[in-house]
C-alpha cells in the first residue's frame, strides 16, 4: 500500500511537470482502485453496481480538472481519495441514496474486481451531444475514435493548438454537465 501510494506521488509529480506517459500510467493505475470503491459504494447504498463506471469516469475527470490543487510536497493518495469520496457521495445522492461513506472504502481497497470485458459508461457519452460542436467533434475524435491530437487536427482542419484548447474546454464542459445532471 505504501509503495503504491509512493509510486502514485512520483507519477503525479512527473505528470505535473508535463510527462504525458507518466500521467497515463497514473490514471490507469488509479482507475481499478476507484472502480472497486465505486462498486462497494453502490452496493452498500443498494444501487445497481453496473453504474460504477459512470462514477469512475466522473472521478477521473474531476482529478484531471482539479489537479492544480494538489500540493506536490504532499502524498497523492489522500488528495485522490478526497476527490473520489466527494464525487461518489455526489453520484449516490443524485441517484437518491442517503449516503454514509467510510474513509476505509478507499484506503483499504486492494485491487479492482477484474472485469474481462472493456468497461464503458453511457453517462459521459450521453452528454457529448450537448456540447458546442467544436468541442464535441474533438472529444469524439480523441476519446471515441482513438485519434491522436495530430490526426484530429488534420481531420477537422484545425491547428493542433486549437484542438488542444477545444479538448480542454470540452472536458471542462463535460464535468459541468455531469455536475448539473
Amino acid at each position: 500500500m505504501r509503495r503504491r501510494d509512493d509510486e502514485w506521488t512520483v507519477l503525479m509529480r512527473s505528470a505535473n511537470a508535463g510527462d504525458e506517459a507518466a500521467y497515463r500510467r497514473l490514471l490507469r493505475s488509479v482507475a481499478p482502485v476507484l472502480r472497486a470503491a465505486a462498486y462497494r459504494g453502490l452496493a452498500r447504498a443498494g444501487q445497481p453496481v453496473d453504474q460504477a463506471e459512470d462514477i469512475v469516469q466522473e472521478i477521473l475527470l474531476a482529478v484531471h480538472l482539479k489537479r492544480q490543487t494538489w500540493d506536490a510536497t504532499a502524498p497523492f493518495a489522500p488528495w485522490l481519495f478526497a476527490i473520489a469520496r466527494n464525487k461518489l457521495i455526489d453520484a449516490l445522492r443524485r441517484r437518491g441514496s442517503r449516503v454514509f461513506i467510510n474513509i476505509d472504502d478507499f484506503s483499504e481497497t486492494m485491487a479492482a474486481p477484474a472485469a474481462a470485458e472493456t468497461l464503458t459508461s453511457a453517462e459521459i457519452a450521453s452528454h457529448l451531444d450537448g456540447l458546442p460542436q467544436r468541442q464535441r467533434d474533438v472529444l469524439r475524435s480523441i476519446a471515441v475514435e482513438s485519434a491522436s491530437i495530430k490526426e484530429t487536427a488534420a481531420r477537422l482542419s484545425m491547428s493542433e493548438g486549437a484542438v488542444r484548447v477545444a479538448l480542454h474546454r470540452g472536458l471542462a464542459s463535460l464535468a459541468g454537465k455531469l455536475r448539473e445532471s
Partner: protein, 212 residues
C-alpha cells in the same frame, strides 16, 4: 465511452497547465480592490480629520483588525480550496482578529473616558457601517469566488463563508478610513454584524458556485 479512452483524452490534455490557485486569487483581488476603492471614494471618501485620527491608536487598531481578518481568511481560503483539507487545522487563524478586538476593548476600558461605554458602543455610524461594509466587499467577494472556482473544496458553503470573511476584511479596511467611530466596542458589534452578513452571502453563493 470506454474508461481507457477517456484516460487517453485526459492524457492528451496533460499539457494545458492551470496556474496555482494562490496566483489566481492574487490576481482576482488585485483586480477587484481598485473597484472597491473607487466605489468607496465615490460613496463615502476618507474622513476629513484623518491626519489627527492617525495619532489615535484605536483608529489604527481598526486597520490592524480588518487586515488581520483579510489575511487570515486568505490563508484559510487557499487551504480550503484543497479537497483533502480539514478546517480545524487552520481555523485558529480566524481567531486572531477577534483576539485583537478583545485586547483593544480591554485597553480602552482601562483608560479614562468622557463618554460612557454604551455611548461609544452605539456610536453614530452603526447603520452606515452595516450597509457600507457589504457594499465595498461585494466586488472582492465576486472576484474571490470566481477565483476559488478553480479549487476543489470538500465543503463549498464553508469555503464560500471564508471567502466572505476575506472580502469583508478588505471592505471593512476601506470603510474604517471613513468611519469616525474608533472605539473597539463599536468595531466588535457593528463591524462584526457587517462581516457576518458578507460571510452569510458568501456561504450561500459558495454552495452553488464552489461545488466541483
Amino acid at each position: 465511452m470506454e474508461t481507457d479512452r477517456l484516460i487517453e483524452a485526459l492524457a492528451a490534455d496533460a499539457e494545458i497547465r492551470q496556474p496555482r490557485i494562490g496566483t489566481t486569487l492574487t490576481w482576482a483581488l488585485l483586480l477587484a480592490l481598485p473597484v472597491s476603492a473607487v466605489l468607496f471614494m465615490l460613496v463615502l471618501g476618507v474622513r476629513s480629520d484623518v491626519r489627527t485620527a492617525m495619532h489615535n491608536p484605536f483608529f489604527d487598531l481598526k486597520f490592524l483588525v480588518t487586515l488581520a481578518l483579510a489575511f487570515s481568511a486568505i490563508a484559510v481560503s487557499l487551504h480550503l480550496a484543497r479537497p483533502e483539507a480539514s478546517f480545524n487545522r487552520w481555523s485558529w487563524l480566524l481567531a486572531i482578529p477577534a483576539a485583537m478586538v478583545g485586547l483593544g476593548i480591554v485597553a480602552e476600558m482601562m483608560m479614562p473616558h468622557e463618554r460612557p461605554w454604551l455611548t461609544r458602543l452605539i456610536g453614530n455610524n452603526a447603520m452606515s457601517c452595516m450597509m457600507s461594509i457589504p457594499l465595498f466587499s461585494a466586488p472582492v467577494l465576486v472576484a474571490a469566488l470566481l477565483a476559488l472556482r478553480r479549487g476543489a473544496p470538500a465543503r463549498p458553503e464553508l469555503a464560500g463563508a471564508v471567502a466572505g470573511l476575506l472580502a469583508a476584511g478588505l471592505g471593512a479596511t476601506l470603510y474604517a478610513a471613513h468611519c469616525a467611530d474608533d472605539s473597539p466596542l463599536f468595531v466588535a458589534v457593528w463591524y462584526s454584524i457587517a462581516v457576518a452578513i458578507v460571510a452569510g452571502v458568501g456561504a450561500i453563493a459558495g454552495r452553488h458556485m464552489l461545488r466541483y
